[in-house]
């Protein structure tokens, strides 16, 4: 990224190749919308180009990328406050949709249920779980991205897990 900052814009392509799936996954788990997530990936990379001078190089590139992605998400939610939850749940259902064999069906349905349950978490809880579980970031890294202590991150993950569990249990009943 420092090379991009210095003016070697072609290096951005390399960064894209390396991180686009990861970033897309994060955005997908936050929005449950494929197209929207793709658009947001585009936005994040555009912002990284445009504001490349703000990258100091003191932190990890990936942390910077996530903080930009979080800002893009915040902008999106601010603009479409009410849509998100509704669409999110619907989208989760469409993932589960389609004809599948019986055995696999139950498993798949359970996964979809769980995914739906995650959609009912608050944005910050979903975010912290997405970062830790899907992105497989260490608590210390998450702490850097979110700007909190490692201990706080651990407690928040635990609370989010408890909340998710109770939502999931309610849904199963």
């Amino acid at each position: 990224m420092l090379k991009v900052k210095a003016g070697d814009l072609d290096r951005m392509g390399m960064l894209f190749e390396r991180y686009n799936r990861q970033l897309y996954g994060f955005l997908f788990h936050m929005t449950y919308q494929r197209e929207l997530s793709e658009d947001m990936v585009q936005q994040v990379f555009y912002k990284m180009l445009k504001y490349r001078h703000t990258f100091t190089g003191t932190g990890e590139y990936i942390h910077w990328m996530y903080s930009i992605a979080r800002n893009v998400l915040k902008d999106h939610w601010r603009k479409n406050k009410q849509q998100v939850q509704h669409e999110g749940v619907e989208a989760a259902e469409t993932i589960a949709g389609g004809l599948v064999p019986d055995e696999a069906f139950e498993k798949k349905q359970a996964k979809a249920e769980l995914h739906r349950a995650m959609g009912k978490l608050s944005e910050s809880q979903r975010e912290i779980l997405a970062l830790s579980r899907f992105q497989e970031l260490k608590c210390q890294e998450i702490a850097q991205i979110l700007g909190m202590t490692e201990g706080t991150v651990k407690v928040r993950i635990h609370r989010a897990m408890q909340e998710l569990k109770s939502i999931y249990v309610k849904m199963e009943r």
Binding site: L114, S132, C139
Partner: protein, 271 residues
Amino acid sequence: MKCELYEELFTGWINKELSAEEKGVLEQHISGCDHCRTELEALQQLWGHIGQIETPEPSANMSVKFYAMLDTYKESVKEQRSLWADIKYQLSNFWQWQPRWPMAYNLVMIVILVVGGYLLFGKNKSDDQDRQLQALSSQVHELKQTMMLALLENPSASERIRGVSYTSEIKHADKQVIDALLATLNNDPNVNVRLSTLDALTHLAGHPEVREGLIKSIVEQDSPLMQLAIADVMLKLQEKRSVNSFKELLKQKDLDHGVRDKIKQTITQLI
């Protein structure tokens, strides 16, 4: 230790971030706390389930869009750079313009000096102009006087009358003019010229020499018209010194009767 205090360790347990020491502490706790053990197991299971949730792959479209965006961005940056280069070029040109600045500075200084000079010396200048104007008007005045004097020598009676009439325009008649007028009054062959001269002299009666000249002139006049006119003027000026002159005139035997009566009347009025 309360169960809540193990929350941090729970997270570490399920995402396998615990150190051996921390692991030991938590294991010790859950061996004695059924609630925490079941909770941890449930969370561990849930964590595993979450991990099975598939993350869809982005479409190929995304990467196409990205590279298109990157290309456009590179283009725009190039344009910006060329714009910057343009500005730099203009600036360097501007330096070459520098010699023109002193010229502009000179112009500004000239304007300032002219305005300042006008403000400072404008008054003196107008004084100068006044003086010049006065000199000019006095020159015109002199010229008129000379012309008048020349006209009095003119053989044509009407020209001489015109010359006499100029005296009304002369504000400050000097001795030369008065002498010329008195000479005309006494010696001009034409009675009309003499009458108008008398009229002109009446206007200059403020000068004592004019008065004396008029008194002396009484005996010099032989025309009844002039004698009557001069008697009127004396009466108007209330000149008592003229009585003697009139008495002299009365001694003239060939004096007109009308004139004689008029003069007698004038004498009685003056006395």
